[in-house]
Structures are given as structure tokens and as C-alpha cells.
């Protein structure tokens, strides 16, 4: 009896020790619902190629991810928006120095039910719809039918991105706050009066929905979010970088994982999951953050200015 207890204690000590050494290499990634699938896939392939490496990816929304980074609950925060200056301040107060890496480009897709005859909108019309100023589909060339607004909860980076870069105003109070991209797509499949916004990776996969073409203004051409050229050139007006935030210059396991994500192999996975690979301008920026070339940039808020995409700085 006594001996079995000793054995048990010894075994648990060994396991505990193993757990400790294992957790050192464990990379915790948390945040954006838009990024969760693609980062999960990246993590799977990375772990397959590097036995012993361990990456866990959870969701919760960009705000939750950044809060997790600040409270040291994760190593990498997935975020579909840029970090806010208030969050940088909070992080600095806790002795953290958030650095940004751009892992993918998203063309935020405006979707409706496949039964809805409307197939294009301008950015201005989308703003009016979500601000609650346009309430009926007939006002934007559709049937006489009240519009049901589907959006994300306020902890979502996409929620903020829409507000600050597409709507330039506050959401209508009749916005239905959905848990994630998948729930919006699922709801629109059933609701022919609905409109929603989801990451292009989700829009490509979903069935029963229609992806709208969007024009920057009333006098420009309409473009869809699926064509790589239209998105990378910025002709599709609602594109944004998908970011990961880390504390300071990454080292060890975190760095290895980030380097893999940004490698041509990692970027091929990004494209396969329906998003777009990171253009060179951002890759140079990333290389500096990772310390693989050049100097580390002091200001994490700084962004490449030579890239003609809206990157969420507002």
C-alpha cells in the first residue's frame, strides 16, 4: 500500500516536471474569430513538421485576445483590427511592449441570402444600412422588405473595423450581435432579409449565401472580394490586414511559429484557407518586428504607408 503511494507520488512528480518543461515550448494563441481557422490550420501543419512543438489556438474575439496578451494569458494575440492606443498604454503599464505581425490579408465580405436579388452595394450604402438610416431593401435596389442587420459582438475586431472604416458612425440598435463569422453565415442562409459581414475565408466556404460586389463610391466600378488581384491592388474597397500581437521581440517557440506562418509554406496555407497572402511591404515590416532583418521598429503603431489598403488605423 505504502509503496504504491510512493510510486504514485513519484509518477506524478515526473509528469508534473514533464508538464512544466512541455509548457515552456507551448505557444498559446488567442483572439480573433476571423483568424481562428487559418491559424489553427497553420498550427496543425507546424506541429506535424516539428514533433515536440505545441501550439494551442483559441478564439473569443480580437478584444479578448489583446486583453489576454496584456494579462499574460497568451503568447500571441490574434487580432483582425489594430491595437488601440488605450490597450498599448495598458500593456506598457504592465511592462509589456506589444509588437505587430501581419499574417494574412482579409477582404471583408458583405453577404446576403442567396434568395436576395441585390448583388452589389456601395460602401456608403453599407454604412447607411448598418447605421440604421436605410431600413428597407427597396432603398438600395431590392425588394420591398425590411433589412435585418447581422453583425458581431463588441469584443470582435471586425465589429470595430466596420464601425471605424466602413460605417464612420455608430451601429443601429437593432443590430443582431452574433458570436462569430460562422453564425452570421448560418443565419443569413435562413433569413432572406438579412445582411452580414464575414471574413473572406468564411465567405468562400459558406453555402446558401451571396457575396456582394462593393464599389468605393457611387461612380466607381464594383468589385468582389474573391479575386486576388482586385484585393491586393485595393480595388475591392474593404480589405484589411489580419494581425498577431506579441510581447517585444519574439524568441524561441513563439518566434519559430511566427517565422513558419510567414514563410512561403505558411502563406500557401493562408491562401488555401481562403485569405490572401501578405504582400512584400508588410513582409518587410514583419521581418523587422521579428528581428530577422534590419532594426526593430520602436513604434508598434507605425504601418507601411506605401500600401494602398485600409489597415484599420482609422
Amino acid at each position: 500500500m505504502k509503496r504504491s503511494i510512493v510510486v504514485f507520488l513519484a509518477a506524478s512528480l515526473v509528469l508534473f516536471g514533464a508538464g512544466l518543461s512541455w509548457s515552456e515550448d507551448m505557444v498559446q494563441v488567442k483572439g480573433s474569430d476571423t483568424l481562428i481557422n487559418v491559424v489553427q490550420k497553420l498550427a496543425e501543419v507546424y506541429m506535424e513538421k516539428n514533433p515536440g512543438a505545441s501550439v494551442s489556438v483559441t478564439g473569443g474575439g480580437s478584444g479578448t485576445g489583446i486583453a489576454g496578451l496584456i494579462n499574460r494569458k497568451c503568447d500571441v494575440a490574434n487580432s483582425s483590427r489594430q491595437i488601440k492606443s488605450s490597450e498599448v498604454e495598458q500593456a506598457n503599464n504592465k511592462g509589456l511592449d506589444p509588437k505587430r505581425v501581419v499574417v494574412a490579408i482579409d477582404a471583408l465580405s458583405i453577404i446576403v441570402s442567396s434568395d436576395n436579388p441585390v448583388d452589389k452595394l456601395t460602401v456608403d450604402q453599407i454604412g447607411k444600412i448598418y447605421r440604421g438610416e436605410v431600413k428597407n431593401w427597396s432603398e438600395v435596389g431590392g425588394e420591398d422588405m425590411a433589412i435585418s442587420l447581422y453583425g458581431r459582438q463588441s469584443n470582435s475586431g471586425t465589429y470595430d473595423f466596420m464601425k471605424e472604416n466602413v460605417m464612420f458612425g455608430e451601429y443601429s440598435t437593432s443590430l443582431k450581435s452574433m458570436n462569430g463569422n460562422a453564425q452570421i453565415a448560418e443565419s443569413l442562409k435562413q433569413d432572406r432579409s438579412g445582411i452580414g459581414y464575414i471574413g473572406v475565408g468564411y465567405a468562400k466556404e459558406a453555402t446558401g449565401i451571396k457575396i456582394l460586389k462593393v464599389a468605393a463610391t457611387g461612380s466607381t466600378k464594383y468589385y468582389g472580394p474573391l479575386d486576388s488581384m482586385d484585393v491586393k491592388s485595393g480595388r475591392y474597397p474593404i480589405t484589411r490586414p489580419l494581425n498577431q500581437y506579441i510581447d517585444g521581440m519574439p524568441k524561441g517557440a513563439v518566434k519559430n511559429f511566427l517565422v513558419f506562418e510567414l514563410s512561403s509554406e505558411g502563406q500557401a496555407i493562408v491562401e488555401k484557407e481562403g485569405f490572401f497572402s501578405v504582400p512584400d511591404e508588410y513582409q518587410n515590416y514583419n521581418a523587422q518586428t521579428l528581428g530577422t532583418t534590419g532594426d526593430i521598429r520602436d513604434n508598434s503603431m507605425m504601418r507601411p504607408t506605401d500600401l494602398d489598403t485600409n489597415d484599420g488605423a482609422g
Partner: protein, 295 residues
């Protein structure tokens, strides 16, 4: 002898501590909520917090606003709707189980009801999205079924086990002599049940309903998934609503600590705590009255 007395005292003390622990936890939660909520009222007046229907703490283009009235009304909508469905069904089922059903039926149905109580709320919420929602949309000819009615139906399902088993206990607790006297006077079984047994067990049944309501008001995941979560003031049961619990669940995860928004969420928690506390107290009083009547 002395040894035994010491042991008695020790065990007595231990149980006393255990009992006290619960009281301390309750008071602790209350104090925590009050201290965390209090700073919010430096910036928002209490009347604005309770009676303004404008909640937008993350506003960027207009000043932030903290009015919880629409959530309070949403919570009441969903809970009252749930009770309106669950009380008749629950009492009916309890009456059936205690007076009509045979022993074998009862032995099968009772455990099934208890299993119903054990279904995780997230599963019920999922059913709300894929089953109840589309059904409501079809029945009422509306584009989607994510609304207060959906939440009410799901919460009714969740409150039913509590209401049924407590009401059945109350009905079984009515002394046999009441029933026999009624039957001896020539009343039918139905008349005995409706006019004698249910009135005699009424305070127990009320306690059951209040506890069921307590569960409905505090339920989070199900309503979060099924009610659509729109912050607008509800005008009908077919409108999307966002309850107090949903708001806390959605916003507490990302709110920066020690901001007005953070304190305001604790304020909502405090209001919720007070509501459930009052409901539980009412059910407790009702239960005690019932016990006195029976004695």
C-alpha cells in the same frame, strides 16, 4: 466522557463553520459587486443607469452611454414569457404525476425529467438556433426566429424540471385526509385535484415557480445564442433582445479593467443579484407558509 464532549463540540464547530462559509460567500459576493459597481455612479447617475435605454459603452463617434433599461425589460420579457409557458405545463405535469399516472409511468417519467434538468444550456441554445428559431420564423412568417419568444420557449424547457419536481412534492405533501374528505363528500377525482389539492399545495407550487423563474433570469448561454442580441428596446416578443446576462457575458471578456464600462457591467451584475435574491426570498417565504399550512 470528557473526551466525547470534546469530540461533540469539535464536530459541532466544524458544521457551524461549514454553514457560515455559505453565508460569508453570499455576503462577500454582494460586497464585491457593490464595491466594483459603485465607481460607475461617479460618471453615470443611478436613474440614468436604470431608466435610460441607451447602452453603447464602446461608442467612438458619440459619447459613451450606460443605460440598462432595455436589457432589464428584455430580461423581464424573456422570463415572463418562459413562465407563461412553463407554469401551466409544469403544474399540469406535476398533477398528472402525483394523481393520475400509475406507479410504473411515474418511475419512468421522473428520471427523464431529471435528465432534462441536466442538459447543458449551450446544447439548449444550439437547439434554439437550428430548431426553435426556424420554426418560429415559419409559424409567424417573419424572416428569422432569433427573438424573445425563442428565448422564452428554451428557458421554459429549462425551468420545467424544477417546477415539475417541486410542485409534485408539494402535491404529494398534501395530507391524505384532505383528499379522502373531499372524495367522501362526493367530489370527483378531478374536482378534488383542482379544488382541494392544488389550493392546499399552492404556496409550494408558487415556490417552485419562483425558483424556476430564478433560473430563467440568471440563464446566460441559452439566451445569448437564441435571442439575437440586439440592444434596442423590445416592443414585442418577435423582436431580437439582449438580456442583462448576455451583455455581461459578451462584454466582460474584453473590457479594460477599472474603466466606467467595467464598473457598469458590475452594476448590471448587482441589479441581477438583487432581482434573483428577492425572487429566492419570496419563494422561501412561500415555502415556509406552505409548511405551516400542512402542519
Amino acid at each position: 466522557m470528557a473526551h466525547n464532549r470534546l469530540k461533540d463540540n469539535l464536530i459541532h464547530g466544524l458544521f457551524f463553520l461549514n454553514g457560515m462559509l455559505v453565508v460569508v460567500a453570499l455576503i462577500g459576493i454582494f460586497v464585491l459587486l457593490v464595491t466594483k459597481a459603485a465607481p460607475a455612479f461617479k460618471e453615470v447617475s443611478l436613474s440614468q443607469f436604470l431608466f435610460s435605454a441607451n447602452w453603447n459603452p464602446t461608442a467612438t463617434f458619440v459619447p459613451a452611454s450606460y443605460g440598462m433599461k432595455s436589457m432589464l425589460v428584455s430580461t423581464i420579457f424573456v422570463s415572463i414569457g418562459a413562465l407563461a409557458i412553463a407554469i401551466p405545463l409544469g403544474i399540469g405535469a406535476a398533477a398528472y404525476l402525483s394523481d393520475v399516472a400509475g406507479r410504473r409511468t411515474r418511475e419512468i417519467v421522473k428520471p427523464v425529467i431529471e435528465i432534462l434538468a441536466g442538459i447543458p444550456s449551450v446544447v439548449i441554445g444550439f437547439l434554439g438556433i437550428v430548431l426553435v428559431g426556424p420554426m418560429i420564423a415559419r409559424v409567424f412568417h417573419i424572416p428569422n426566429g432569433l427573438n424573445a419568444l425563442n428565448g422564452s420557449i428554451l428557458l421554459a424547457v429549462m425551468a420545467l424540471p424544477t417546477i415539475i419536481s417541486m410542485s409534485e412534492d408539494a402535491l404529494n405533501g398534501v395530507p391524505k385526509s384532505f383528499e379522502e374528505a373531499s372524495l367522501a363528500l362526493g367530489a370527483t377525482k378531478w374536482q378534488t385535484l383542482i379544488r382541494v389539492k392544488i389550493p392546499a399545495a399552492l404556496s409550494g407550487i408558487i415556490a417552485a415557480c419562483m425558483l424556476g423563474m430564478g433560473r430563467a433570469i440568471g440563464e446566460t448561454m441559452t439566451v445569448l445564442m437564441a435571442t439575437g442580441c440586439a440592444i434596442a428596446m423590445p416592443k414585442s416578443f418577435l423582436q431580437s433582445v439582449q438580456t442583462m446576462t448576455s451583455t455581461i457575458a459578451i462584454e466582460l471578456g474584453e473590457v479594460p479593467y477599472d474603466t466606467t464600462h467595467y464598473y457598469a457591467l458590475f452594476g448590471i451584475g448587482l441589479v441581477l443579484f438583487i432581482i434573483t435574491f428577492v425572487i429566492n426570498m419570496i419563494s422561501d417565504i412561500a415555502l415556509h407558509r406552505y409548511e405551516r399550512v400542512i402542519k
